[in-house]
């Protein structure tokens, strides 16, 4: 079943296990007789960019939908933590108590499998984007970002009553909301198109807008479902820079599903590989891309079979990505030859 995480730095506990923002524990999702995700456990480190990869149909989006509450998992626990540390004692108490979350000051523990999707976004502060972009197409770019700030603005508008009366406090909050929207529009190079309908934007800009919209909810964890899908190399590079900016400047942890290995290998601090609904590898970029199970999964080779055909090896290298070319090729070849002898 699940493999032990490959530890790149010897026996030391990896960062994502010491201080996880999100722990998925023994998650199982069945659709009728089909087991889409079977007994998957992983941790997402605080302040990391974590990538969830795997071939098509591996169950990545299902895991995502469970984490963000769009599916109710059949079994398993999904713990979201605000504040440092694993907070194991609180998690256990909360699980036994039957409550959905517990919040004390800045720290809090949220059991996502018990919460409805909108609460996961508003209370547990997990924001997400969608594989097939879901923008409010008939609303302007700016309006999209204001809708994302709905919950604080509703409070500021005195639950609508103050707003109808035109209280100045609401106008002030609305100006602040617009400022925040403009900040993210500048970050995503969309400020020139702020007054255009979202459906009018080109594809790459729509992807960026969706990320900007998610960031306007002030998330602790940002979940991106294939953010680089359909982007050209230049746009992918911009995306990398944006995600690094989000991680470094906003201290927001990022969990992403991605097929573009260029993006994954370059920016990920931690990679989890799923195949047929089961986790097959877990570790940093270096350890994952040399993991024979991962290579086998991407090529559809039997697990134990050695790869000694040079053409196949080239394919492997291509699949894992250009970024890995330099490091993988001689290394992998050496290993395989060693195995043969």
């Amino acid at each position: 079943m699940t493999t032990e995480p490959k530890l790149s730095a010897g026996a030391a506990t990896p960062r994502w296990q010491a201080d996880p923002i999100l722990s998925v524990e023994r998650l199982t999702m069945r659709f009728g007789g089909l087991v889409a995700v079977g007994d998957v456990s992983f941790d997402v480190g605080r302040g990391d960019i974590t990538a969830l990869i795997g071939p098509n149909g591996a169950g990545k989006t299902t895991v995502f939908n469970c984490v963000t509450g769009f599916y109710k998992p059949t079994e398993g626990r999904i713990v979201m933590r605000h504040g440092a540390g694993r907070q194991d004692e609180t998690v256990r108490q909360l699980t036994d108590s039957g409550l959905r979350w517990k919040k004390e000051g800045d720290s809090g523990v949220f059991l996502l499998e018990r919460m409805p999707d909108y609460e996961i976004a508003s209370k547990a502060r997990v924001a997400r984007t969608f594989q097939n972009i879901r923008l409010f197409g008939g609303m302007t770019v700016l309006e999209n970002l204001l809708v994302a700030q709905h919950n604080p603005l509703v409070v500021a508008s005195g639950f609508t009553f103050g707003g109808i009366l035109g209280l100045p406090s609401y106008r002030k909050s609305e100006r602040e909301a617009i400022d925040k929207a403009v900040y993210w529009l500048e970050r995503t190079q969309l400020v020139d198109r702020a007054d255009d309908p979202a459906a009018d934007l080109p594809y790459g800009a729509q992807r960026r807008l969706e990320i900007a919209r998610a960031m306007c909810t002030d998330p602790h964890l940002l979940c991106l479902d294939e953010p680089a899908a359909g982007l050209n190399p230049r746009e992918s590079a911009d995306l990398n820079a944006l995600l690094k900016f989000i991680r470094d400047e906003h201290k927001t942890s990022v969990l992403l599903i991605e097929h573009d290995m260029g993006v994954v290998m370059e920016i990920s601090d931690h990679i989890i590989v799923l195949d047929y609904g089961v986790k097959i590898s877990d570790g940093d970029a270096e350890s994952v891309k040399t993991d024979p199970k991962v290579i086998a999964a991407y090529l559809g080779v039997e697990e134990e079979e050695d790869i000694d055909v040079p053409e196949v090896l080239e394919d492997v290298v291509e699949t894992i990505g250009e970024v890995a070319v330099g490091s993988l090729q001689p290394d992998a070849k050496g290993e395989n030859r060693g195995g043969d002898k």
Binding site: T68, F70, D117, Y118, E119, A121, S122, K123, A127, R128, F130, R134, L135, F136, G137, G138, M139, T140, L142, E143, L146, V147, A148, Q149, H150, N151, L153, V154, S157, T160, G163, I164, G166, Y170, E174, I178, V182, V191, A194, D195, D196, P197, A199, D200, R213, A214, T217
Partner: protein, 482 residues
């Protein structure tokens, strides 16, 4: 509004494309103009032939009841006239719309678009002009049309009631995108709330009952909202339709409480700060020392409904710029994305139903006080359909569109009652009232073909950073049930 071409409805452009393909071989044979004309004639002849065949029994023969059976009479004149009408009409359509490179409809559409582009503040000025007109209307009418003033003001009150109902329904259908076919239920709840409160408790007058009726209607809006929360599309429409009928049937059959089909009569008239608008010594006219005239009561009613409608409009405009209004529109665009942003869509839907219903309730209690008598007959499905037609015709989510549509629909229907001049054309037997609904239906079909997204199809953004750009209807989603 990128270019005039882009805003022409697709339905107009379609025949052109079809024509392009059809005319190409003809043009290669004998020159574009001739081939087009010959083809048009052939097509028109075919249409006339079909009309002749179909019309032979429907128009050409007439059966009258005669002693001992039916008397069959041929009406060759009418038959030939109908064939000719079809031939000429089809030929004209072919020549000017279907088979020409510059269809007339397209030219008209482009002109109209050009007009609104040329005068940027047109909508704004139209709004202001309409508001001023609405404010001074009673004085204009009493001064210039004093012989028919009561009739005209009554019609203005009726139109204004529908404007208000349209604005109320616009919140649910236009902004939140929830197709509600049972809106008349809230109109009924408002009317019956006021009627029952006023007839059972003497101290409750119109102004006290108005907020209570609104609250009760809002409560019923929430009661309707709960079961339909999870419904989408056609199912939502059917359940709301059923809800409207349930309310009406309950009002009809709960005899002890609502009076059943007899309705409720003797509903008090609204007072002016406690003063009645009557001839007596304690009436408003006596109090202020001017002469009493029955028209004053109608003018007063007119201003009440104008005030209520304007409140509805102002609140809606405000709500659109508040988070709740943006959440409604976002929900219409994409409900799943809304939830991913932490918006509680259940509460958002319920507020839309409740606020829409509340304005329906206000309008209902006004209706009760104006009529003085209500019965379930006033709250049939046809009313819901008319209100929805006003909203759809005006353009979903457009406030000014609703006004124009209400004037056209309600005013137009009344206008058709007065088409006396048609009797000069068609002879004294002709009764225009009988064709009222036919003409009305045709007009609606034409408007929907010409402007499939309503008269005002563009959406105005609720927040602007630099430059306000209106959003074309093709971008805006219509929500559930369309």
């Amino acid at each position: 509004m990128a270019s005039p071409e882009a805003s022409i409805p697709a339905s107009v452009q379609k025949p052109m494309g079809a024509q392009g393909r059809a005319a190409a071989p003809g043009g290669a044979r004998s020159g574009a103009g001739e081939g087009g004309l010959a083809g048009s004639l052939r097509d028109a002849a075919l249409a006339a032939f079909l009309a002749g065949v179909l019309g032979f029994f429907f128009i050409g023969l007439r059966a009258d009841i005669a002693p001992g059976g039916l008397d069959l009479r041929a009406r060759w004149g009418a038959w030939i006239v109908s064939i000719l009408v079809v031939f000429v009409g089809r030929l004209a359509l072919n020549l000017f719309v279907f088979r020409t490179s510059k269809p007339v409809t397209k030219t008209i559409g482009a002109r109209l678009t050009g007009l609104s582009d040329a005068v940027p503040g047109l909508g704004k000025w139209l709004t202001r002009a309409l508001l001023v007109f609405a404010l001074v209307l009673p004085f204009v009418v009493t001064t210039f049309f004093s012989s028919r003033d009561r009739q005209i003001i009554d019609l203005a009150i009726l139109i204004m009631t529908y404007v208000m109902l349209g604005w109320g329904l616009n919140i649910v259908v236009g902004l939140a995108g929830l197709l509600d076919l049972g809106y008349v239920a809230f109109y009924a709840v408002g009317a019956y709330s006021f009627a029952l409160l006023a007839t059972h408790f003497e101290f409750i007058g119109f102004w006290t009952a108005l907020p209570l009726a609104g609250l009760l209607a809002a409560m019923w809006g929430i009661i309707l909202g709960f079961p339909v929360l999870r419904l989408r599309g056609d199912y939502l429409a059917i359940v709301t339709l059923a809800f409207g009928e349930i309310i009406r049937v309950v009002l009809l059959n709960w005899y002890e409480f609502t009076g059943g089909p007899n309705g409720i009569s003797g509903i008090p008239k609204p007072t002016f700060f406690g003063l009645e608008l009557s001839r007596g010594d304690d009436g408003m006219a006596a109090f202020f020392g001017f002469e009493y005239d029955p028209i004053q009561r109608f003018i007063y009613l007119y201003y009440i409904i104008l005030l209520l409608a304007l409140i509805t409009n102002l609140v809606t405009i405000r709500l659109r710029k508040l988070p709740i209004g943006r959440a409604w529109e976002a929900m219409r665009e994409d409900e799943i994305a809304c939830r991913s942003l932490g918006i509680n869509t259940r509460n958002t839907k319920l507020t839309a139903f409740a606020i829409g219903a509340m304005f329906g309730g206000f309008a209902g209690s006004f209706f009760a006080t104006r009529q003085g008598f209500i019965s379930p007959e006033s709250f049939t499905f046809l009313e819901s359909a008319i209100i929805l037609a006003i909203v759809v015709l005006g353009g979903l989510g457009s406030q000014i569109g609703v006004v124009v549509a209400a004037v056209v629909m309600i005013g137009g229907m009344e206008l058709l009652r007065n088409l006396d001049f048609l009797t000069y054309i068609f002879g004294p037997d002709f009764d225009p009232v009988r064709y009222r609904m036919l003409i009305f239906g045709l007009a609606m079909v034409f408007i929907m073909v010409w402007k499939p997204r309503g008269l005002v199809a563009t959406r105005e953004p609720s927040a602007v950073l630099k430059e306000k750009k209106r959003i074309g209807a093709d971008m805006v989603a219509q929500g559930e049930g369309h």
